[in-house]
Symmetry: C2
Subunit: 396 residues, 2 copies
């Protein structure tokens, strides 16, 4: 759809945009401009005259339509871990008399680690309750303070129903917090329609904003001026340059800003968002389903030793497809050496992302043929692809 | 000393390196390389093969000698606000039976805001006690859990004695946390000699790593494996890619990592640190005192209407010099329009930074002559430099 707008190395079929999106060509110049024309030539004055201060809010408003959010409800900054912390802390504060954070066992570990740390910090007797993904709905009861879920499972691509689970959470008085790491830019998200209190996500996957790109946080409009920030940084203060002694939160989503924004990373994000200006997320989703279906059909046919662990029903699946195989680590490594980049998640998951902005059927068919060859001709078994015993599980 | 290694706009004398250091020429190419050769060509594989994962630790070790820290005790990431939060939370946890955070009224507001937010979050009955800078020593008693100070006052340049106050804090059993925002790269810092438990700082001022550059955090070597992180992100986990359910902190300073590091900002920092490879911080300090003394002497002589609020004794002063004047806002604005960039801090402080890496006596004398002219010929009073009533206080 927008392949010519990306810098894609020759001879590589990139099925790992779900981990790190490729470089938008426009980002090269945009970053250069920010570095030389702004930092270099304007120096400190660029904070105002190049708009650096407002960038986290301006980019939040650019990103908002992609996740169905209203203006001034999304802001960029920090990392996803920090944004999870902020949203979860705010959620817990809204339910001081409840003592359960409900999540599922498939949630991305850092979300759960952050919850662990936050619980210890609060000194409250809070339980982090983890259930199977399909048990979340039935586990919602009036003890739950916050339901914290990642919409699309990072390992399997399984999707929760944000609308149903949020409704159910609200029916028992729980706060809903959604992690959109594998949703934003991959599938249509309707925050306003689903009505959760909080959402967070990253921009380096399907939004292609580069390694270490800032994360985002969304607060429901009615809560913007009510939520008490746990991380009270000066950029979230009502008057950052008054240098008042006491913290007074900024209006609405700006109070979720913390410290000085990462200006160079913001420049990359700005260029990456340009690509979405004339692309519809519905078209992206439709195309990604077509590519995923093609991939599943052909891989199951050609490589029956691989077992699909992603939902077979495309409505239940995000933009990635995962298979398990005992030799998955070696296979992913051998694939990378042969121009097909997917990724591996311990202990045995081969994960492939389908990103129609820069992938088409032709690419996917080529990848399928290479995968078939690597696996069925035992190329994966070559010494060079062997898993070192010390490695935690990252193949690419 | 290293002027030719910086991109400095023609006709500008930059006396605001204490706010945002200028662009190191080498950063232009380094960032470009990271963007195109690494992100662009290596894609996801760059996390390992370009060393992105280790960058926060590698850069921590490069920065360590500048602040007198041992290997593997400093790590980069996030913003200074977040690092203050981490260090302060760790300090409070080490003193569960004490209930005072002691700081001074001159501390940078975000440090105090972060403390406010953290106190609320813990639910502990902790008091943030703010005293005059000169009263800190006498205010240390056995109720103090953490003494949290910024070594060099952002407004006046006044310096605390890190060695004396840390010794005093330890004598009453308090934890010492130092913010080195205006110290790192400006004055010699001896963390090992002074022995505080924690230190934090930013890299976009005297270290010239660019707008939104990552912050750093130091943990004393004996505490590295003991401190319990409050922000438990996956990058601080002992095995980030094992995707374990439970959080297990990484050894030593790595546990103070949180989320995915800002790779593009790290590239800029890497280039900025190159400049320090053959510069001694003692020489930088010596030169900065010479420049500051020259500036104070000449400004007091030529512009008696300005009042020095920085300590007159250079041993008590960091690398910046501040004067108050009722028309300070207008003067700083008029100066910027005439090629001398300082900055303004509400309500009436004109602040000038002396950074010998790219400033010499010739520059400072030129700046003095322009300041004299702007102030004594009433150029500051021109309509265009008038302070808008709505403005919080930022002139440049």
């Amino acid at each position: 759809m927008k392949k010519n707008q990306f810098h894609l190395p020759d001879g590589v079929i990139y099925l790992d945009g779900n981990s790190l999106g490729p470089l938008p060509k426009a980002a090269i110049e945009r970053i250069q401009k920010t570095v030389v024309d702004e930092w270099g030539d304007m120096l400190i004055t660029a904070w105002n005259s190049a708009g650096w201060f407002q960038q986290p809010n301006v980019l939040g408003n650019r990103l908002a339509p992609l996740i169905g959010a209203a203006t001034d409800t999304v802001v960029l900054g920090d990392t996803l871990s920090i944004k999870v912390f902020q949203a979860l802390a705010a959620g817990l504060q809204m339910r001081p008399d409840r003592n359960v954070i409900l999540s599922d066992k498939g949630n991305f570990p850092t979300d759960l680690y952050i919850a662990e740390g936050l619980i210890k910090l609060t000194g409250r007797d809070i339980q982090l309750k983890l259930v199977e993904p399909e048990e979340v709905a039935d586990s919602l009861d009036e003890g739950v303070a916050v339901m914290m879920l990642t919409e699309v499972d990072y390992k399997t691509g399984r999707m929760h129903s944000m609308s149903e689970l949020t409704r159910k959470a609200h029916s028992v008085g729980a706060v809903a917090l959604w992690d959109l790491a594998h949703s934003a830019g991959a599938i249509p998200v309707d925050l306003q329609g689903c009505n959760p209190e909080f959402a967070v996500g990253c921009t380096y996957k399907y939004l292609n904003a580069g390694p270490g790109a800032p994360a985002f946080i969304y607060t429901r409009p009615d809560l913007g001026d009510i939520v008490e920030p746990a991380l009270c940084g000066w950029m979230g203060h009502a008057s950052p340059f008054a240098f008042d002694k006491g913290y007074k939160p900024a209006p609405s989503i700006s109070r979720m800003r913390v410290g000085t924004p990462p200006v160079l990373q913001m420049a990359a994000l700005d260029a990456a968002l340009d690509i979405w200006d004339d692309v519809s997320i519905d078209d992206v989703r439709k195309k990604s389903i077509e590519l995923s279906e093609l991939f599943i059909k052909e891989i199951e046919l050609r490589c029956p030793q691989l077992r699909l662990i992603s939902p077979r029903d495309s409505k239940m699946r995000g933009s990635q497809v995962s298979f398990t195989w005992d030799n998955g680590f070696e296979a992913i490594k051998a694939l990378a050496a042969n121009g097909v980049i997917g990724d591996f998640r311990a202990p045995d998951v081969m994960r492939f992302g389908f990103t129609p902005l820069y992938l088409d059927e032709h690419d996917v068919m080529k990848a399928i043929i290479i995968i078939e060859k690597i696996i069925n001709e035992n190329i994966w078994a070559q010494e060079q692809f062997k898993r070192p015993s010390s490695l935690g599980g990252r193949a690419t």
